[in-house]
């Protein structure tokens, strides 16, 4: 334990403070009072707390509550954090802390001003200063494009703010979505019916219909777009096609899933050629669906009332069990059932 105070950042620490800081830094997840007492003999609670307060004032440690009981604990701040905030005035620190807590979602300037408890003019000046120093920045969320939302300069806005892959410059890129959907649909159609015969369909046991990850692979390889898409994004496109009735989904049959869990990586040559998306199934939950394009007839509106002959019968009102025209000898039924 050296007696000479060392310089760290902008402020000078006494040797006691240094010792304390070293201990707190050693506990990366935070140290509570007992942890610290255990490592230092002869220090009483008061001493620890006094030095801790000093360290906190100089921005080296944060107070926090740890564990289920919310015990008071201390966490060291990284050296650059300490220097960044060390030079700040109190009101700047208040704003900085609020913006930091908001992380990737950012905080609306109004809430920032209200929570800081600072007078509006002062808050505005502080916010402008921090912006100039590139400590915080202002972003535009897609959902509320007129609100000024602030976050730390180095953070990337969350996908909720930017809209993710489907938004370009804060606007939903409908063309992009449509084009991509069309390509995905064409790919599914290609895989859904045998290439040789236009009118044929695969037998029920066929399982080479593409799954979401297959389609994701197809898109990545095809170079259709430079925008990076995740499987979840592809899933969103597939869901849309599904709800529009253009594709239907088939659950991959049970025994395939068991097989996969048994042989993870090594037994690839056991799998059949038309294994569909089997070999890429790693996450059991997300990849159980295969997608198949729907043929024309299913898209036509069919109505039970008109399918049945009674719906189109010219003598419906006249027909009854006891009369000359009755359901038992109905000509239309005979024709319909024999067709």
């Amino acid at each position: 334990m050296s007696k000479r105070p060392a310089k760290a950042g902008l402020t000078v620490l006494s040797s006691d403070e240094q010792t304390l800081l070293a201990i707190v830094r050693a506990h990366a997840k935070g140290a509570d009072l007992d942890d610290i007492k255990g490592q230092l003999d002869g220090w009483d609670d008061n001493q620890i707390l006094t030095h801790m307060n000093a360290l906190s004032q100089k921005q080296y440690v944060d107070f926090m509550s740890m564990g289920k009981s919310g015990k008071l604990a201390f966490k060291a701040r990284s050296a650059e954090e300490a220097t960044k905030t060390g030079g700040m005035k109190d009101e700047e620190r208040v704003i900085y802390r609020l913006v930091k807590e908001a992380k990737n979602s950012g905080i609306w300037i109004k809430q920032l001003k209200d929570r800081s408890g600072l007078h509006t003019q002062l808050a505005n000046t502080v916010i402008k200063n921090l912006e100039k120093k590139n400590i915080i920045k202002w972003v535009k969320p897609v959902k509320t494009p007129h609100k000024k939302v602030y976050m730390l300069f180095e953070l990337e806005p969350s996908t909720e703010l930017t809209g993710g892959a489907w938004y370009t410059d804060n606007e939903m890129d409908m063309d992009f979505i449509e084009q991509l959907s069309t390509q995905v649909y064409k790919y599914i159609v290609m895989k859904s019916f045998p290439a040789k015969n236009k009118d044929a369909i695969f037998p029920p046991s066929h399982s080479a219909y593409p799954s979401a990850s297959d389609i994701h692979k197809f898109i990545s390889k095809s170079g259709l777009t430079t925008v990076p898409l995740s499987v979840a994004d592809v899933q969103a496109l597939l869901d849309r096609l599904y709800y529009d009735g253009k594709v239907t989904r088939i659950q991959k049959s049970g025994h395939h899933e068991f097989d996969d869990s048994d042989r993870m990586d090594t037994d690839d040559d056991f799998l059949d050629e038309d294994g569909g998306g089997r070999e890429v199934v790693r996450d059991m939950d997300t990849d159980i669906w295969m997608y198949k394009a729907v043929r024309g007839s299913a898209l036509e509106e069919r109505n039970a009332w008109t399918d049945m002959p009674c719906g189109r019968c010219p003598v419906f009102d006249f027909c009854s069990e006891t009369g000359p025209v009755n359901p038992s000898n109905c000509r239309y039924f005979k024709d319909w059932l024999s067709a």
Binding site: W108, I109, K110, K113, N124, K140, T144, H146, K147, K148
Partner: protein, 250 residues
């Protein structure tokens, strides 16, 4: 845009309009005069607008007539146009009037040019109606128009309206406004804009930003009463029971 404080009559009006409680709704109005002097933020906005609309052509704004009304011949043909400069001033005024918001990416069609008859009619049927129907209320209405005229010479003005979508209205995200208007009176000669806005929220709505430290003006007397919402929770507004059962003890 520089907020002008030299008009005492406007300040008086603002005191009267800032928070009005009519029992079933609360109204927040203000009239603000701005001079077209560019601040740093305005310069940044101007650059943004110039970049976004590079050609020097006038921008098409919305039409104040509904597309299906019998009087508008063909939707789109008779749309009004504003110069880029005017559009910029309208945006800058909005930004100055709502400091917690930034309207720099607003589309020109959120604005429309309105005839003064429409403005007068709307203001009369929304705001002024709540001030009462008697001659005293008329006088208040006349005072408002006189004050605005003093600030900006209404006869020389062009009038524009900001027409946001329901969910885009500033300060109205949690609960919609019952009604609202946002009018701009622009006087090119004087390089001034007067912004006249008011909105009403239901008595059941939670506390609005305008109501922090507000002094309420009752509409049937002209005493100012502090926090008129009898026994209501500050943050949540009148409860449904309180509203329907009436105020049992004042």
């Amino acid at each position: 845009m520089k907020y002008l404080t030299d008009f005492e009559s406007l300040e008086n009006i603002n005191n009267q309009l800032s928070c009005i409680d009519t029992g079933d709704c609360r109204i927040f109005g203000r009239v603000e005069a701005y001079s077209c002097k560019n601040t740093d933020d305005d310069k940044r906005l101007k650059r943004h607008v110039d970049e976004k609309y590079p050609a020097e052509v006038p921008l098409e704004i919305g039409s104040w007539q509904s597309p299906n009304s019998p009087s508008s011949p063909h939707h789109g043909i008779l749309n009004d146009r504003v110069t880029r400069k005017t559009f910029f001033y309208l945006l800058a005024t909005l930004n100055a009037a709502f400091p917690d918001y930034d309207f720099s990416d607003l589309n020109p069609d959120s604005f429309s040019k309105v005839p003064s008859s429409l403005v007068a009619n709307t203001v009369n049927t929304t705001l002024l109606v709540h001030l009462g129907i008697d001659s005293a209320a008329h006088a208040v209405g006349a005072k408002i128009w006189a004050a605005i005229d003093e600030a900006i010479s209404l006869s020389e003005c062009e009038m524009y309206s900001f027409n946001p979508d329901g969910d885009e209205e500033p300060d109205a995200e949690e609960q919609g406004n019952l009604w609202s208007f946002y009018y701009f009176f622009t006087n090119r000669r004087q390089k001034r804009i007067v912004f006249f806005t008011a909105r009403a929220v239901s008595c059941l709505a939670p506390m609005q930003p305008e109501e922090k430290n507000a002094i309420y003006l009752v509409d049937d007397t002209d005493r100012s009463v502090e926090d008129l919402r009898f026994g209501a929770d500050h943050d949540t507004g009148l409860s449904f029971e309180q509203y329907t059962m009436g105020q049992l003890d004042v």
